[in-house]
Subunit: 332 residues, 2 copies
Amino acid sequence: MTGARCTVALDAMGGDAAPAEQVKGALLAAERGVRVLLVGDRKPLEAELARQGAPGGCAAEIVPSEGVVAEGENPVRALRANPRVSIAVAAGLVRDGRADALVSMGSTGAAMAASVLSLGTFEGLERPALGGPFIALAPGVSIIDLGSQVDCRPGQLVSFAALGAAFARAYQGVAEPRVGLLSVGGEQGKGNRLVQDAYPLLERSGLRFVGNVEGHEIFLDKADVVVCDGFTGNVLLKYTEGLAEAAGRYLARVLGADTEAVRAIRGMAAEAELAGGPLFGVNGGVVIGHGRSTAHHYANAIVRAAEVVEKGVVDAMRNEMAAVLAKTEAPE
Amino acid sequence: MTGARCTVALDAMGGDAAPAEQVKGALLAAERGVRVLLVGDRKPLEAELARQGAPGGCAAEIVPSEGVVAEGENPVRALRANPRVSIAVAAGLVRDGRADALVSMGSTGAAMAASVLSLGTFEGLERPALGGPFIALAPGVSIIDLGSQVDCRPGQLVSFAALGAAFARAYQGVAEPRVGLLSVGGEQGKGNRLVQDAYPLLERSGLRFVGNVEGHEIFLDKADVVVCDGFTGNVLLKYTEGLAEAAGRYLARVLGADTEAVRAIRGMAAEAELAGGPLFGVNGGVVIGHGRSTAHHYANAIVRAAEVVEKGVVDAMRNEMAAVLAKTEAPE
């Protein structure tokens, strides 16, 4: 599937345990046919490649940068203060055509800011959105937004719907993705003001809008894409992570062993999240993941980024969004 | 614990499978020392009592009403059209001092509307809130609001905090309840506008405010009370219900049997929810639950309502809210 010519820039300094897991993940991805550019401080990267028995330039090439944006730092300020920081250099590689896509498990805010600065967002979109499937028990359901836009206007939910539908079609191969609106009741009119105002826009969006989706219906195959404001989405994402951990601990106690079932329940959130999700709405393939990711998560994210490129997901999203905004006549 | 003299009015027509499970639950609660008034259509109630071998007037007394507000009906319109409907008569019994508290698993909207009309809300509160612990994996954590107020102003979150703290202290026996604000990041300043505006109010509320609580931290014993707008709370409630069901089905498949662990995982949401939660902010004890409840859930809800009365929870909530609103100077 993955073409040999696809090149992915990896922010090798972002995320926990950098750069060991990052380098290991890059080498695993290289074995799966992706060319990886390791962006980071040269010395530690060379040392790590040597330690793992892979001299630089062979399977994974080093592109030097200086420093890293730490979790919690103000992303825009950090990027301004140091334009040579790893995530900025990595995003620049995509901008300059030296890489086809970007992967980072470092500061989400920094990855978003660097992507926006280097690649730009789609016409009509203020900020990119975060989304994708993150619940192993509902693996086909993409939820958007997961935290980029905590205060939304109705038109933004429509943009999320277009981006998610294009992703489901182009990346996941769903022929006619069903789009649902996360709400607190089934009928139109149920929900907060935002949802009530977004409903009629989605009805005339040209998308296959299936109406409101309640919390439990995420698990009932009612929609392929569920849109919500980033506050609600982020709470759900982290809640699921916490619940999965707590359920795993509980089950391990009840069953008295760390069985496959326990690991599966514990992983019902974490795996998908750690594998990284796409950044929706920037002019380039960007996959962002969790700082706790380990080598195989990095490898999966890199392969995923390559697939985003190969399947033309970014163009599909841009076109879908333009078409939907033209129909709803609510450009932002 | 439960005093023999406490009287609870049960909406015996509300909820699925009425009145069979309702009557059975009432008889179970009566065995636990609570006097129950069965409010509903006389004939089916008499027939059901006879069928269960308990003649009316002995363990559970019938108070006749006419009809029921169906799920999905407009509550206020239904109550206006028929003031003799079961939930209206039941709430009237509490207003008139013939019952100490009210339990309904029927239409939530109707139970809220009838409670507000008959009992009134606390000074400074527009509408009551729904809340309480609903996650078996975080049994000590009350989340408020769960769907009553889908669009909130900052002052309403402060009211929820006061009501929840009083509930935790008076009902659950937590000496100094910690109050958290559900958000998407730990530091002040993270969150949507509502959360950002509520934060400083909570800081000067006199409550033991512990700051923002992220989704996963609900499971990390960071707060006893977590406040949020009713949209987010309702999505979480129903999401948990759906996730628990899906996780249970998944586990049953993996383990190949419907073991105790499977039932426990499946019940991690449902049990607490089915047992019913208090309605916060009305001048009387009201416990509301899920239509799918069965007899033992009814019994638990009735006993819970009796405990709300015996522990003086309503007065504690009213006093706490008045004190907090005086401090935050943001009466609504």
